[in-house]
């Protein structure tokens, strides 16, 4: 029972932290994008528009709940909740400091990949359940993209697993704290593996340049076309949670997580996570969008074989590299 309480307590703590980071992250993103686009971003609500996210949330929650007549009511309602669970659930095994971790699972990597991979189910449920052509097209695109980029993602995650010999995320971070960060050393499987991880993570969380599932200039809003109010908010939130948790995962797997000098572990983890988070914004607000076939080609002809090669290189490093 103790573990249940531990999980619930830390779960509440981490979920609250993530959600408030996202609220402020949205404000920051709008300011950031505004500066990139020669405008100011939010300025009206609160000082420097700081209260804008809360105004947004209240607005979205107040909106009328419209369900299309031909929708599959059950799936339509279930999908947004599942989306939040699948994106937030990944955070359960991520160590934010040596002690702040909801569940120190010995197969943490499998948990991350498994729960993250479940995202196809709410996507499909929303797309199919809406009974809308744009939503269905978006859902199928999302599924194809998600399963395709699942392969380089798994291969990239295998690199730190091989290098550290541990399946637990906290174990991987602890190993990096003892030896060296994987993105820094060994540079050859480490850094390219991080790049592949980063790209696959962008694709899994449907960020530009891989946002073809919701491509609003083509598919209006993809799977969220028929969603209004709170349910739309949940999808929107899930997308940001996915991005933030993905950044945290990247920081933990490749940049030593909470490891760092001078400051407590939590500070370092937050700093690294937010750096990656901002990097994603930067990419998002500068690049255009790929087309489905280009996306697939990039994944299958480049990322997958490179991922396999990196996996073998890291295995060779462990086997023949000697010292550590």
């Amino acid at each position: 029972m103790n573990e249940l309480v531990h999980g619930a307590l830390y779960g509440t703590l981490i979920a609250t932290a993530i959600l408030s980071t996202i609220a402020m992250g949205i404000w920051f993103e709008r300011k950031f994008a505004g500066r990139m686009q020669q405008r100011l971003g939010p300025t009206i609500v609160g000082p420097a528009g700081l209260l804008q996210p809360f105004a947004d949330i209240i607005k979205l929650l107040q909106k009328e709940d419209i369900v299309p007549r031909d929708a599959d009511r059950g799936l339509f309602d279930l999908a947004p909740i599942l989306a939040v669970v699948c994106s937030l659930g990944v955070a359960a095994v991520i160590p934010f400091s040596p002690s702040i971790i909801a569940s120190d699972l010995d197969v943490g990597v499998l948990w991350v990949l498994g729960i993250g991979g479940l995202m196809v189910i709410p996507t499909f449920a929303a797309g199919w359940g809406s009974n809308n052509k744009f939503a269905l097209l978006g859902a199928m695109r999302a599924i194809a993209q998600s399963v395709s980029y699942g392969v380089p993602l798994v291969l990239a995650v295998l690199v730190p697993v091989v290098l550290s010999g541990s399946l637990s995320i906290s174990g991987i971070v602890a190993w990096q704290a003892q030896h060296h960060w994987f993105a820094v050393w060994p540079i050859v499987p480490g850094l390219p593996a991080f790049v592949i991880f980063f790209l696959a993570m962008l694709a899994e969380s449907n960020r530009i340049p891989f946002d073809i599932p919701e491509a609003e200039s083509e598919l209006v809003a993809g799977i969220t076309t028929e969603y209004t109010g709170a349910k739309f908010t949940l999808f929107y939130m899930a997308e940001y949670v996915h991005t933030l948790v993905g950044s945290a995962l990247g920081a933990a797997l490749f940049f030593g997580g909470w490891d760092g000098p001078f400051a407590p572990g939590l500070h370092w983890m937050v700093l690294k996570t937010l750096t990656l988070f901002v990097l994603i914004y930067w990419v998002r607000w500068s690049l255009l969008r790929f087309r489905a076939d280009q996306l697939m080609r990039l994944c299958w002809t480049w990322l997958t074989p490179i991922g396999v090669a990196l996996l073998l290189v890291s295995a060779a490093w462990v086997t023949f590299g000697g010292t550590n």
């Binding site: 994008a33 686009q37 020669q38 695109r141 491509a215 209006v220 790929f290």
Partner: protein
């Protein structure tokens, strides 16, 4: 009559251009997707009915008329002088050229010579307007490719920043930022304010310096090129047959530009370098537009330097709409708008001598849209958006 592919093909020898559609079982394989009118990237209210096999488009049927405002009919009721502000709203991205095309037809009808200074002013306005219009095209195209919530909107807003400079210049001259009503029969209404030329030159320099930045963000961006290359290939023969003109035609490798081939305004005194690209795909059209922006900036600069002194209107400017009275005659005048050959055909006479019997506007966007049934099938939904954007249609002009 509803304009459908069947109607078009009937006039073209009873051959359906979508020969392949018979290979499909209508119920089982194809999905009919209404793409528009209320869609983020149909550039106004335009509808394409797409028959999809998976994501591949097998047949595309354009439907127009959602923005029909009866401008031509309205012009039959208004006096000649009153019509200029009405046609301003046709091509709402390049209002200057609308006014010019209309007044050129009236001048031809009345056999009025436009003074040289007015012709220079018109040239400058036309070229600056072309720059502004092409910037809007680039903005819209990048939104189509890159999303309203992403890199596309970054380029979009930057393009609009440069367009503002041009609108500021126009505002100084005409007092209006958008619907200028500055051209009239026989010349212009407003002369340049003091120091305008200098400020215009400065604005041109600024746009020129930033243009290469935009080129890097679009033509220099691998994603942009990959999305445009080989997409929506329009052959020169088909383009000519459909009456397509402007950058779309020049992107298909046809060297045709009214500014050089049938000079109007002051183009007979200027040397226009026509931008032609081979390939006929979206990328070729994009390249043409980029080269045209540079050429237009150069032309505007030369024209500003060479503005002669003199009157700006040969026909006595009037506040009395009934001044122009005609009982007969007809005229057609065309100019090279940012979208192609924008022509006005006017027949004078009828019941009232103060207004035309019939006025017809030849809108280049309408002809460009005619290519959709031919170049969209075979592409997928993402490509359809890119193709539509590269045709650069303005629905106000299409539907009138």
């Amino acid at each position: 009559m509803e304009i459908t592919v069947e109607v078009q093909s009937a006039t073209r020898g009873s051959v359906d251009p979508h020969l392949s559609i018979h290979a499909y079982e209508a119920e089982g394989d194809l999905m009919l997707l209404h793409f528009g009118p209320q869609h983020p990237s149909t550039h106004g209210v335009f509808r394409m009915d797409l028959h999809l096999d998976g994501e591949t488009i097998v047949k595309a049927t354009p439907y127009i008329g959602y923005l029909h405002r009866g401008v031509e009919k309205l012009c039959e009721k208004l006096t000649y002088v009153q019509q200029t502000p009405i046609v301003d709203k046709n091509d709402y991205v390049a209002p200057m050229t609308n006014e010019q095309a209309l007044n050129m037809a009236f001048e031809k009808l009345l056999n009025i010579e436009v003074p040289r200074r007015a012709r220079y002013l018109r040239t400058i306005f036309a070229e600056l307007q072309r720059v502004a219009s092409h910037l809007v095209w680039l903005a819209a195209q990048s939104i189509d490719l890159g999303g309203a919530l992403g890199g596309g909107s970054t380029l979009f807003l930057h393009c609009l920043r440069e367009r503002e400079l041009i609108m500021d210049l126009f505002e100084e001259v005409s007092g209006a930022r958008f619907h200028y009503n500055t051209h009239t029969i026989g010349g212009n209404r407003h002369d340049l304010p003091d120091g305008w030329s200098k400020r215009a030159q400065a604005a041109i320099s600024q746009i020129e310096s930033r243009l290469s930045e935009y080129e890097d963000l679009s033509l220099g961006n691998q994603i942009f090129v990959d999305r445009m290359k080989g997409v929506g290939v329009l052959s020169a023969a088909l383009a000519l047959e459909l009456g397509i003109s402007g950058p779309v035609l020049r992107g298909s490798g046809v060297d045709h530009d009214l500014r050089r081939d049938a000079p109007y305004h002051a183009y007979d005194e200027l040397e226009v370098q026509v931008a032609v690209e081979q390939g006929g795909d979206c990328l070729a059209r994009a390249k043409v537009r980029f080269r045209e922006i540079r050429e237009s900036l150069r032309l505007a600069r030369v024209a500003i330097d060479g503005i002669p002194e003199g009157p700006i209107c040969s026909f006595k400017p009037t506040r009395q709409p009934t001044q122009v009275k005609l009982t007969g005659g007809q005229a057609y005048a065309a100019l090279e708008s940012p979208r192609g050959e924008l022509g006005t055909f006017v027949i004078a006479g009828g019941d009232t001598p103060t207004s035309p019997y019939r006025l017809k506007i030849r809108a280049p966007s309408l002809h460009a849209l005619a290519a959709i049934p031919y170049i969209v099938p075979g592409a997928n939904v993402s490509d359809a958006v890119a193709i539509l954007g590269s045709l650069d249609p303005i629905m106000g002009e299409v539907d009138r």
